[in-house]
Symmetry: C2
């Protein structure tokens, strides 16, 4: 069945968003803000989290498997809400299915190039993301003169998942991680991990007022907005959409951690069901 | 009772956030993201909304009355989450009580000055905010060489309150409102109304990829973070905080509209009670 956006109620198909775990929920949240009428089908591969230490070939296989599941479920777009997946598999994903694919790296890189005044951009992310050099390549393709200083901040994810954004220990770590970037004179900093928007108060404080922070989650949501509008894929139904959250891991821990991401105000997942995708482990 | 931040569980007092209605909830949301451990006491003066057309003296009186209520309730900080209130009363508020006061205009102005590369900053807001010239003054105090182009976008608020961020009618209006700013060559645009972060996908699409959007809600939350850390006012209790939302208007309509702001995922206000502040009308 081919559903197009030309009908009165537009294109009712969900957006397929996926990640190795819960980090991609910051992208979901940003999409829901900008497009409150769009239903979202989310898959977090918590059962095989973290992807970081895995071989690229294996991550690619996982990503294609989840994308296949989402496409079979009838999504109108794939949103790769995970830096590690994007690094490993974005071109295969784009080639494999007939739906548009939006990632997090290109929107973040573009926003940073737009924001820098002195041509020195900082990048923070997981070890895997920093090591991959994907942001460096994306930025250099857009603006060869811009320098990129990168720094892995491995402990940040764990603090965010505990709901800690302001402990003394975290502040000490932030000073240690971010010191070299500050000393390197970056005037723009990419939050290159979908967990980091929750730390933007801390990071702004440590980096100082003159540094522009770029959230790849928000920039990705804006790209999704633009892609849906320009391809005429918006849902036009005034009824509230039904979201669905799937995890390959433990439902209860997914539900608990997701509170930090979909807003601590959230009590329970409401109309959204947490289910399980069958995957090989 | 004087409570200080030096104890093991820190300073348990809530942050007092207030607005003429529900727009300030985007500021609440940004604060909750960055500081999930901080309790918030919110007052929306929906019963006397909108403030825009009222005389400055009257807005000042309302603001001082609400601030007094919040201070009596023991807040540790006042967050003025409304441009119109800030324009009318910020200096009186700062003088009236012994707690720190954070507004939305200065953080937004500072972020815009930091972000602009060509010295041309755009500002969008309500008629009252644009007419007041408050952002122009704040920017000119920080950077006299920066030009500010302003444009009132009166219809935006109404669309957001209906949950509409992507209709054809809204897109047409956005093109009409933002056209002169685009043609004026601004490279940075302040979203000078607490409703507008919900429209950042639309606004980025219409303004084009090269324009940096500054959300005064997010920038204010970062200022609140910095102020709490530097004054050692953080709550250190691992238990989840209890938020409280008060309106001077109709509870049910407040509850309904607040879903668009505290996240459409939100079903009901959870542990937060919607109450009524007694005020003269």
């Amino acid at each position: 069945v081919v559903v197009t956006g030309s009908g009165v109620s537009g294109d009712p198909r969900p957006l397929g968003v996926f990640d190795s775990g819960v980090g991609g929920l910051t992208v979901v949240r940003a999409i829901v803000d900008l497009l409150p009428g769009e239903p979202i089908l989310y898959v977090g591969d918590n059962g095989r989290f973290p992807y970081g230490p895995r071989p690229v070939e294996q991550i690619r296989g996982f990503a294609l498997e989840i994308a296949e599941h989402l496409v079979t479920r009838g999504v109108k777009m794939l949103v790769v809400a995970c830096n590690s997946i994007e690094v490993a598999a974005i071109s295969d994903l784009a080639a494999a299915h007939g739906v548009p694919v939006v990632g997090v790296i290109e929107p973040g890189a573009r926003a940073a190039v737009r924001a820098t005044r002195n041509g020195r951009v900082g990048l923070i992310g997981t070890e895997a993301t920093v090591r991959s050099g994907a942001y460096d390549r994306a930025i250099s393709a857009l603006a060869p003169d811009v320098d990129v200083l990168s720094r892995a901040c491995p402990a940040f994810v764990e603090h965010v998942e505990r709901g800690d954004t302001s402990s003394d220990e975290l502040l000490r770590r932030a000073r240690e991680y971010l010191g070299p970037l500050r000393e390197g004179g970056v005037d723009t900093l990419i939050l290159g991990c979908t967990h980091y928007p929750m730390l933007s108060g801390l990071i702004q404080l440590v980096m100082g007022e003159d540094v522009v922070l770029v959230s790849s989650a928000e920039e990705t949501a804006k790209d999704v907005y633009a892609a849906l509008v320009s391809a005429n894929l918006l849902r036009r139904d005034p009824a509230e959409p039904r979201h669905e959250f799937l995890t390959t891991g433990d439902r209860e821990s997914f539900r608990r951690i997701s509170h930090h991401f979909l807003g601590p105000e959230l009590r329970g997942v409401g109309t959204a069901a947490v289910g399980v995708v069958e995957v090989a482990t």
